[in-house]
């Protein structure tokens, strides 16, 4: 780079940052959120309460948070990454010892009036920590076993704490996001090939051991696997929810049963219809057209966010943005696969659509960080 070029390209400052936001991404996020409001209005039987109204307020807060984070210089986020990670691990430990029990799991921490869900926070801080780690790490050492082990340790600590709550969905997202980020950072193929091989081998070993003397899992655990593979076995038990969700989706057909006309959701056959299973309501009422449209919007978000990854000025910015994208992708793909019966039911919300404060805010913080990486890179003055 020549001196001249360096002069021409400069970091945006002050109000000019607004111009350099990834605006298409902002618009797409708003569009998806609006679809969410619409569905929340519908599942409430055509009412803003109890879900659509609070969700809109939270989204407004999230949007503000996103802008605030976006305008904060990226180096600031890099410098607090380690501290943020440490704090969230401490908070997770706090949950372990002082947490509030709700719905059979210990997830919340009561800090005066604030109800905190540290596992949600950990999703962001883990990404920040890993991005900072690989930014700091010498490129040549990326695939060195010791440094790979260290990265795995960074991932394992919050994952195991979350798993103890127990919150399988979040734990999967944490570890999955982390490992994929390692892949993006350039850790050797071999590790992943070996891991996948071991995974496939392990699963087949577990399944093959069934009914033999060295059976690995308990009988009831196998039955759960059966119910997942074929919900018809136990239509009123474990498979009930997934069966009803499939009926809802399938009955939507090409163009759906009509907005607010979905019998499965309106008559309460659907479980968690406003949170994890909201996609089934959408698919039932708006049909294949509506469901595919949402998926297409998600795809566009991936594309425009991916643009940020490619043009980010620093390794930290690129990796952080990539981590946000990966997490976002895992969110919606796992959720959709789950309600369509392709994956077992784990508690993963549909990003930007499902009702819920923590997940929404964490996503918006993530997009804020991605925007920050987008804004804070030198560009030609225009």
């Amino acid at each position: 780079m020549s001196y001249l070029e360096y002069n021409v390209k400069r970091m945006p400052t002050g109000l000019s940052k607004v111009l350099h936001l990834n605006w298409p991404l902002v618009l797409l996020i708003v569009a998806v959120a609006c679809m969410g409001f619409l569905m929340l209005y519908s599942v409430a039987g055509g009412a803003m309460r109890p879900w659509a109204d609070p969700q809109m307020k939270r989204f407004a807060v999230g949007l503000g948070l996103m802008f605030a984070i976006a305008f904060t210089p990226l180096w600031f986020w890099r410098s607090i990454a380690g501290v943020a990670y440490a704090v969230s691990v401490l908070l997770l430990l706090g949950v372990e010892f002082f947490g509030t029990v709700g719905m059979g799991a210990k997830r919340w921490l009561e800090l005066g009036p604030i109800r905190l869900q540290p596992s949600e926070l950990a999703k962001i801080t883990l990404l920040m920590a890993l991005a900072a780690y690989y930014d700091w790490l010498d490129l040549k050492r990326t695939s060195h076993p010791l440094w790979v082990f260290l990265a795995l340790l960074i991932i394992m600590i919050p994952t195991l704490l979350v798993l103890r709550q127990p919150d399988l969905g979040t734990a999967l997202l944490l570890s999955g996001g982390g490992v994929i980020l390692m892949f993006i950072a350039g850790v050797s193929w071999i590790y992943f090939a070996v891991a996948i091989g071991a995974g496939v081998g392990g699963v087949s070993l577990v399944l093959a051991s069934r009914g033999t003397e060295w059976q690995i899992l308990r009988d009831y655990q196998y039955r759960r696997i059966d119910a997942f593979l074929d919900p018809g076995i136990d239509p009123l038990g474990a498979g009930y929810h997934i069966t009803q969700a499939k009926i809802a989706m399938g009955s939507g057909g090409w163009s759906g049963r009509g907005f607010m006309e979905g019998t499965q959701s309106r008559l309460n056959f659907l479980p968690e219809k406003h949170t994890d299973f909201i996609f089934t309501t959408l698919a039932e009422e708006l049909g294949f057209v509506g469901a595919a449209t949402l998926l297409f919007l998600y795809l566009l978000i991936l594309v425009f966010a991916g643009y940020t990854v490619l043009r980010a000025a620093t390794r930290f910015g690129s990796l952080l943005a990539a981590g946000v994208i990966v997490t976002f992708f895992l969110y919606f793909s796992v959720n959709m696969a789950m309600v369509m019966g392709l994956l077992p039911v784990v508690g993963v919300p549909l990003p930007l659509v499902s009702y819920g404060g923590s997940a929404m805010l964490v996503l918006m913080i993530g997009f804020g960080l991605l925007q920050s990486a987008h804004v804070h890179c030198p560009r030609t003055r225009s």
Partner: protein, 647 residues
């Protein structure tokens, strides 16, 4: 860390490469999602749509309205009464106990009622309506409705329940309805789904049971939308059922009521039949019972009282009761003898008061003997010896043949419960049943309706009608179903020689109208009502030697259940018979004293379509009869003639 520009470029290139690989994987994953979506939403959509409909739509049956039962004049015998009840819905009531407390001030409710209702309320889901009280009066319902604002969750509802406005009058004929039992369901190969409706009622005995298929109708249905926990959201559509068909009986409710009142205090049975058509005008077994008790579900003490009553109110003595016909059987023996050519109108048989047959002495009821008897006087004065003689000449086989020809020993197909067939004892029957050979003494006993012969009051009425018309009259109870008159072809001729029948009828006419006749004291003096009858007294137990020595000579001195049965059969008017009547008074003592007076009253009531005219009675009896009729009138039920309009 600070990196060289080359390192930065390498890093960026690596990230780009890996992002592209990942992007490909993501696209693949999303492709899988889209494929799954189209598979479910496009390819299998119809199937899932069907499942969704099955989820939300339930069928509920609407019980059909049961058909009504009327008498021949359109008087209502069995109807459907509006049944007011109040139901509570927990989620609307809020504080259930408070609502119950307020309700108790308005409606008569026992502690058990409240406890049961509270239990039901708590056991069901909060939106399920639970019945708190049933069969409320209109006043109570009005009071509840007026206080509706203070009674959240309480709604008055109206349903239909079976009601028998004539109470015990028709209990044995019409029967009653009751809840469907397991046995009822097992008896059916393909049970009507309507039977599964909670608290649905079907006919249990009598016409209600026999004509169940006509009366029930078919269920309607409504399709309702329900949510996941079964709450009814709305009604989608409704198909009304077909109400049951009305059934019209041949009975005359007014006559039946008169008969029932006349039999008050007796254990007795009366059958009144239209002699020409066989239509049953009255078929009454006393005492009756209130069928409405069974509709509601009879209480244990009430039911035990009915079972333990020595007069057996639950039994229908008209068709189920089998009695030795006694002297009312003598027409059969006489006709058998005439038909066989073994006697004629003029032959006389001497009655010394007894007859010795194969070493055994058979007595005439008149110990002193009747003297010389011909057929007419033997019937009129009921001489036993004359018929012993005839029995010896004719033999049991020909007596049985005539008995059957006259309608005895035959099971009639009437829509009533447990219709009995009676018994014409044959040689084979005795051999099979008792393992003994038929003796001539058995024939002698049978000739006067004793021994093994058994008949029902219905059969005796049929016999009388056949004697009166020379036709094979068959009894009929149902006149029309669903407004359509049932065909009733004229009965076939019996082919008995008219001269012989005339002899028999004269014998019967003299029995009631000749000064020496056994029923002379129960004669009718108005010519147009005059009847021809025959008394009968059938022995239940002989008076034992011990009793005789204790001074018991007369029936009245015996305990009630050891007395003789009293019987009487008659047709009237004597010259142009319109009706045939049979009377059996269980343990009544004697036919002429206990049964004939009832027979006369019934004949007069039937011919006059109401109360018997006093002028029909012999003058010396009128004072006594007048008092008797006044007492009887007090027991008559004022008939709701408005019921005619509902026919």
């Amino acid at each position: 860390m600070k990196r060289s520009p080359k390192e930065e470029t390498d890093s960026a290139r690596l990230i780009t490469r890996r992002m592209l690989v990942l992007g490909g994987l993501k696209l693949g994953a999303m492709g899988a999602l889209v494929w799954r979506m189209q598979d479910m939403q496009l390819r299998q959509s119809d199937q899932f749509r069907l499942l969704a409909e099955e989820n939300r739509i339930n069928m509920r049956l609407i019980p059909p309205t049961r058909g009504l039962i009327h008498d021949r004049n359109g008087v209502l015998i069995a109807g459907n009464e509006q049944n007011y009840r109040i139901v509570i819905v927990r989620e609307d009531a809020g504080d259930v106990d408070m609502v119950f407390d307020r309700l108790r001030k308005l409606v008569d409710l026992s502690d058990e009622d409240i406890a049961r209702a509270r239990r039901d309320v708590m056991r069901n889901r909060p939106f399920v309506p639970v019945t708190v009280a049933e069969r409320l009066s209109w006043e109570e319902v009005a009071r509840v409705a007026a206080n509706a604002p203070a009674l959240p969750g309480i709604t008055p509802e109206v349903g239909l329940s079976r009601h028998y406005p004539l109470f015990e009058d028709m209990s044995h004929v019409v029967g009653y309805v009751g809840p469907v039992s397991e046995r009822d369901l097992e008896a059916l190969e393909v049970p009507d789904p309507v039977l599964q409706i909670p608290r649905f009622q079907i006919g249990k005995i009598g016409v209600e049971r026999a004509h169940e298929d006509n009366l029930r109708g078919s269920a309607g249905s409504r399709r309702i939308e329900v949510n996941a926990v079964g709450r009814v959201m709305r009604e989608l559509d409704r198909v009304e059922g077909t109400p049951g068909q009305n059934v019209q009986l041949t009975l005359d409710a007014r006559l039946q009521n008169f008969v029932q009142a006349r039999l008050h205090g007796e254990s007795a049975a009366v059958v009144v039949m239209d002699a020409a058509s066989g239509d049953l005008l009255a078929i009454s077994s006393s005492p009756g019972f209130d069928p409405n008790l069974f509709v509601r579900g009879i209480s244990v003490p009430d039911y035990r009282a009915l079972l333990e009553d020595p007069y057996r109110p639950l039994a229908d003595k008209t068709v189920q009761g089998m009695y030795p016909p006694g002297s009312t059987f003598k027409m059969v023996t006489a006709l058998a003898a005439l038909d066989a050519g073994e006697t004629n109108a003029n032959e006389r048989v001497f009655c010394p008061g007894h007859m010795d047959i194969s070493g055994h002495r058979f007595h005439c009821w008149r110990r002193g003997g009747h003297g010389r008897m011909n057929l007419v006087s033997a019937l009129s004065e009921s001489c036993d010896v004359y018929f012993y003689e005839m029995a010896l000449r004719v033999g049991i086989d020909r007596i049985n043949a005539m008995s059957e020809r006259l309608g005895l020993g035959i099971r009639y197909d009437l829509p009533m419960s447990a219709v009995a067939s009676g018994l014409n004892p044959t040689r084979e029957w005795k051999q099979a049943r008792r393992g003994q050979a038929w003796l001539v003494g058995d024939t002698v006993n049978a000739s006067i309706g004793q021994g093994f012969v058994l008949t029902t009051p219905l059969q005796l009425a049929v016999m009388t009608a056949r004697l009166a018309t020379n036709r094979a009259i068959l009894p009929r109870l149902v006149r029309a179903v669903g407004g359509e008159e049932l065909a009733n072809a004229e009965a076939m001729s019996l082919d008995l020689r008219p001269e012989w029948l005339a002899l028999i009828r004269r014998g019967m006419a003299e029995c009631t109208n000749h000064a020496r006749g056994t029923a002379y004291s129960s004669r009718i003096v108005t010519a147009e009502h005059r009847h021809a009858g025959k008394t009968g007294t059938s022995q239940v137990f002989s008076i034992t030697r011990a009793e005789r020595e204790a001074g018991i000579r007369r029936q009245e001195d015996l305990p009630w259940n050891r007395r003789n049965h009293a019987l009487f059969v008659a047709f009237a008017p004597e010259d142009a018979p319109r009706i045939a009547v049979s009377v059996v008074v269980e343990h009544g003592g004697g036919g002429s004293s206990a049964a004939a007076p009832i027979g006369r009253d019934v004949v007069l009531a039937a011919l006059n379509d109401g109360m018997p005219p006093l002028s029909a009675y012999p003058a010396p009896q009128r004072n006594r009869i007048e008092t008797q009729m006044r007492e009887l009138s007090a027991r008559l039920r004022p008939l709701d003639r408005d019921g005619v309009d509902q026919a």
